[in-house]
């Protein structure tokens, strides 16, 4: 029987695909009647050229995320000019606009291919700058930064290996900090609350909070936050899908596109609010996973596994390889590629991996913990079974 790749090698098939005419349609219709067993393979060949072969987008995840963010920012700024008062309202609208992002991966058409060998290929992507957008300017940073806001609208920015920099940020203006894959940052808000932002995150925050409440938005990515207690001013974190109301506390919140959104509480108390549903309170060591349709599922977890990234290590306990690679991929800005039925991705990993600057050490540890082999050639990484 012909394999779908055989059809792709066949010029008559390709010609039929690119520009069909009556004669070709007739020929392939007869072919299907005579070889009904090939119909599936023909379909797969068609899916392959349509989705991969001649229509492969080379817009990577980071670019897609940043471009969407830019579009949102422009739209927001346009609205601000006309309606300054509905400022927060639009900010909330923006978080709503993001709901669709989490659905993205499941919607992408995938080609199923039977693997000939067990192989996972990774590629180191080009690094992008961290970006801080205020009402006045956009500032770029090559290295991780620590930003500290004070009550008078001053921001101190400390960049690794660079001198301390000070900028003015106007009160109550909404600012954006974009941390691309491969980078991390911390941010101390005007009230003293401290945020650790993981790779691939976009956070919106005002330089000063108003007198009634404190609000920020994690439009994508992951953060750990230690909120300064203040009974008079409740603290809210908005995400696409749900809001977190904080009662003085420490917790981690994950809002990556393509992954389930979740909140892990470390200390104190928070409640989760989604449209049309009752407020849900969670207790320390509890993880709430958002279903996407307004409800949450809770479970007890080992908190360390979810917040260790901010201390510079990842902790795993029988975690599947694909999740491990996803986390490492975000941290070092790598994209991993493998077919769904590669068994390697189901291997589990237990132990700690230190996220050192030496990427080779990290991958060697991963290989050791998962009994796989790791090889690096220029920007490519190959993981194979032993």
């Amino acid at each position: 029987m012909k394999h779908y790749t055989d059809f792709l090698k066949d010029g008559k098939f390709l010609r039929w695909q690119l520009l069909d005419d009556d004669a070709l349609n007739q020929y392939w219709m007869n072919f299907k009647i005579e070889h009904p067993e090939s119909i599936k393979e023909i379909e797969q060949a068609i899916v392959y050229i349509k989705n991969e072969g001649i229509n492969k987008s080379n817009l990577d995840e980071n670019e897609r995320m940043l471009l969407f963010h830019k579009i949102q920012t422009t739209i927001l700024q346009k609205r601000k000019v006309t309606q300054r008062r509905v400022f927060w309202y639009s900010a909330a609208a923006v978080s709503l606009l993001l709901i669709g992002l989490t659905l993205f991966h499941s919607q992408r058409k995938e080609v199923v291919i039977t693997p000939d060998k067990e192989l996972i290929v990774g590629e180191l992507l080009n690094s992008e700058d961290i970006q801080l957008i205020t009402n006045k300017e956009s500032i770029y940073f090559q290295n991780d930064i620590d930003v500290k806001l004070d009550k008078r609208g001053k921001a101190e920015i400390l960049q690794k290996n660079k001198e301390l920099r000070e900028i003015e940020i106007k009160q109550e203006q909404l600012n954006t900090l974009i941390v691309p894959y491969g980078k991390r940052s911390t941010l101390t808000l005007a009230d003293g609350s401290k945020i650790w932002l993981n790779s691939g995150s976009v956070l919106e925050f005002p330089a000063q909070f108003d007198s009634k409440k404190r609000e920020i938005s994690l439009t994508s990515g992951e953060m750990y936050i230690e909120v300064m207690p203040d009974q008079t001013k409740p603290f809210f974190v908005h995400t696409s899908g749900f809001n977190v109301r904080v009662y003085g506390t420490k917790f981690n919140i994950s809002n990556y596109m393509g992954s389930l959104q979740s909140v892990v509480l470390v200390e104190g108390s928070v409640s989760l609010q989604s449209k049309g549903h009752k407020e849900l309170f969670i207790t320390p060591s509890e993880k709430a996973i958002y279903s996407g349709s307004g409800t949450f599922e809770t479970q007890q977890v080992d908190v360390d596994q979810f917040i260790s990234w901010k201390e510079g290590y990842l902790s795993f306990d029988k975690t599947p390889m694909n999740e491990v690679l996803q986390k490492i991929g975000r941290y070092y800005n790598l994209s991993f590629d493998y077919e769904q039925d590669v068994n390697l991705q189901k291997r589990t990993c237990s132990g700690k991996i230190y996220l050192s600057d030496n990427f080779d050490n990290v991958m060697t540890t991963v290989a050791l913990l998962t009994s796989t082999q790791y090889r690096k050639e220029n920007k490519n990484i190959f993981i194979t079974n032993q």
């Binding site: 792709l8 669709g100 659905l103």
Partner: protein, 176 residues
């Protein structure tokens, strides 16, 4: 549908289309940005647009034609006809295909040779017709030509592929 959903559904196709039209990726990104911003500016009309994807393709193409005219104006004073002189180059990528490297090259070369025997506009039609599955009316609108002209271009393309690849390749098929 909200903006994020639309964006996720179509951004890859729009970006690829813009790149195939010969623009730099940063320029294409800017154009895609403008298209989505424009879409929300006309939000009242959004529900009235029946084919949102086609609408997006059309505004992207128009935006790029403007940019193209602007770029050309910098160099030459001649009148530019965007329906004629914009390139269209389809990128072939078969690296994810699990076959021998040699066979990959063969597949890639065959498709490339076929496309190379067509004109830029014919290649654009192949892309719009085969990949995006637009009908003649829509393609004609995107190319700023008449429906009749569009059909003629397709017939000519089919004819030249048959001439150049028909006999030889049927022969090879029989052999294998």
């Amino acid at each position: 549908m909200d903006l994020a959903t639309l964006y996720n559904l179509y951004v890859n196709d729009l970006f690829t289309y813009g790149c195939y039209l010969g623009f730099d990726r940063e320029i294409v990104k800017d154009a895609v940005h403008d298209v989505f911003v424009k879409l929300t500016a006309n939000k009242g009309q959004l529900s009235q647009i029946s084919h949102i994807k086609f609408y997006l393709f059309k505004s992207l193409k128009n935006r790029l034609i403007d940019l193209h005219k602007y770029q050309k104006d910098q160099i030459t004073l001649e009148k530019v006809d965007p329906s004629v002189d914009m390139p269209f180059n389809i990128h072939i990528d078969v690296e994810s295909l699990l076959i021998e490297k040699e066979d990959q090259t063969r597949v890639k070369n065959t498709i490339e040779e076929m496309l190379a025997s067509l004109t830029d506009r014919q290649r654009e039609i192949v892309y719009l017709r085969y990949i995006q599955e637009y009908d003649y009316n829509q393609i004609a609108e995107l190319l700023h030509i008449s429906v009749h002209g569009c059909r003629k271009l397709v017939s000519a393309a089919i004819f030249s592929l048959r001439e150049k690849f028909g006999i030889l390749i049927t022969f090879l098929t029989i052999l294998s």
